[in-house]
């Protein structure tokens, strides 16, 4: 057997796709998307000057600038590394997965990502953010010539605040939009400041438990200021934000008027027997970015 003169990793490491992936990770970890920055800026105007809420939003604003200027992680918690990929028919998804995984290793070495992947049984940290289930990939095919890669880093603090409800619920109501609204607002109250609010909710009505959470998280890929195409869900999104911001939880749970920056709701079919409401809580350090790559792995366009 002849040894391959060029180790696979080195080959991958030199590709244009690798450089694109590494840059996507760097941007995602260090530069908050414009729509999120705008929402945080707007929310600060509603807080009492000098209040704890105002101080919290001020510090958050400074942090966003510092991370961008110094090209350092916005938050020390890398969180779950989630890749959402759309690729043309016939595209080699296995190679893309290997390239992205190698870029994750390199980004960890360079300090854009924390060593954040732990063996669930032994507690041992893999040291490079890779291992069973890490990073996470969601692949979809589409009939377009280019590859779109979106990346989300979702911190552990906010992930721990996710919640799933099965309606009817004795306190929250039945299988209708009132029950849905009460369930979502219950998740907000349960989270308090622990998810690093002001938060952004991704919600899925319906599905099974697994796809419900997956779909809820995918709502977080939507731009914050884009209205929901479904007028009923659009109204529900507005109601949730308005009521949550009257709860008084405020940034970091310090009290105040900004509890949520946005709520994004999707619906998928359910079984006659099931009615799940799945809530994915995202922190203000809402790290999501994306890129469009051509067939050779060069970036054509940055998203968000």
């Amino acid at each position: 057997m002849t040894a391959n003169p060029v180790p696979a990793e080195t080959h991958v490491a030199r590709s244009a796709a690798f450089e694109s992936m590494l840059e996507l990770i760097r941007r995602t970890s260090t530069i908050l998307p414009d729509d999120v920055v705008r929402a945080i800026g707007t929310s600060r105007k509603s807080e009492e000057p000098g209040s704890n809420a105002d101080v919290a939003l001020d510090v958050i604003g400074c942090n966003i600038l510092l991370a961008k200027d110094n090209s350092l992680p916005l938050c020390q918690d890398t969180g779950t590394i989630l890749f959402y990929v759309h690729a043309p028919v016939g595209y080699d998804q296995i190679e893309l997965e290997e390239t992205a995984t190698e870029a994750v290793r390199e980004a960890t070495r360079r300090g854009f990502l924390r060593q954040n992947s732990v063996d669930s049984i032994t507690g041992k940290n893999s040291g490079d953010n890779t291992g069973p289930g890490s990073p996470v990939f969601h692949f979809h095919q589409w009939r377009r010539p280019h590859v779109q890669v979106k990346l989300m880093l979702k911190g552990g603090g906010c992930e721990n605040m996710n919640a799933q409800y099965s309606l009817p619920h004795p306190d929250l109501g039945g299988r209708d939009l009132n029950g849905v609204e009460n369930a979502i607002l219950d998740a907000v109250v349960q989270a308090q400041g622990q998810g690093c609010g002001p938060g952004i909710l991704g919600v899925c009505i319906g599905g099974d438990r697994g796809t419900g959470y997956m779909h809820a998280k995918e709502q977080l890929l939507r731009e914050l200021d884009a209205p929901n195409a479904d007028p009923v869900l659009d109204q529900l999104e507005r109601t949730i934000v308005e009521k949550a911001n009257r709860s008084g939880i405020g940034p970091m749970g310090f009290g105040g008027r900004t509890t949520l920056l946005a709520c994004k709701i999707g619906a998928i079919n359910r079984l006659p027997a099931s009615y799940f409401v799945s809530v994915a809580y995202m922190c203000w350090a809402y790290r999501r970015r994306g890129m469009v790559m051509d067939a050779s792995g060069n970036v054509q366009e940055w998203l968000y």
Partner: protein
């Protein structure tokens, strides 16, 4: 509101003078410690550092070794509620005067703050760069076998800012906001 300057190690009288809502700026040593450290201390393994009068920071920083020196790249607070089962014991056994974290803690910690003279300090969650700016040096590390985010990092900080959200007189901002917001949302039910 004026910021209160604190130097670690800190005495009980200074800590007892702090009230919920106060902003403090800490200068001196901070030790990081989160889930695995607290669990190990709870199991009876002695702390490798003298914690008397010190403040524990619930934080798993991003650390990179440059030459033979550790450099802190990001260091915001982690969720403190995971330490709720153990924190009171560490206050009792080691005489720590405070913890810094995010999200607040529960009744056991609040009671221990009152009994042993300690406070809960809230840093801004996610603000890893603002926090890291106050960290001037990394002077050492213990229990690296727990993995970098879980190790005890010896940080030297200057002007590390946090807000008192649980004081040594039984007051908790978190408890108050929880009760108020629960009532408000219940009244708004669809």
């Amino acid at each position: 509101m004026a910021t209160i300057e604190i130097t670690t190690p800190v005495d009980e009288a200074t800590i007892r003078s702090l009230k919920v809502g106060d902003t403090v700026a800490i200068t001196g040593r901070l030790y990081t410690g989160r889930d695995a450290v607290h669990h190990r201390l709870h199991e009876g393994v002695a702390s490798p550092v003298d914690l008397a009068g010190q403040i524990i920071y619930h934080c798993g920083p991003v650390m990179v070794k440059e030459g033979d020196k550790w450099v802190c790249k990001a260091a915001g607070p982690t969720t403190s509620s995971r330490e709720e089962p153990y924190q009171w014991e560490v206050m009792r056994d080691y005489g720590i005067r405070g913890v810094i974290g995010k999200g607040g803690m529960g009744p056991k910690t609040l009671a221990a703050c009152k009994e042993y003279g300690a406070v809960y300090l809230h840093a801004i969650g996610g603000a890893a760069q603002v926090c890291a700016q106050a960290i001037k040096r990394v002077d050492g590390v213990d229990w690296m076998d727990l993995g970098s985010p879980e190790a005890i990092w010896h940080l030297w900080v200057e002007g590390f800012t946090a807000i008192v959200t649980m004081d040594s007189h039984g007051n908790s901002l978190h408890q108050r906001v929880l009760e108020d917001s629960k009532a408000k949302i219940a009244a708004m039910r669809a």
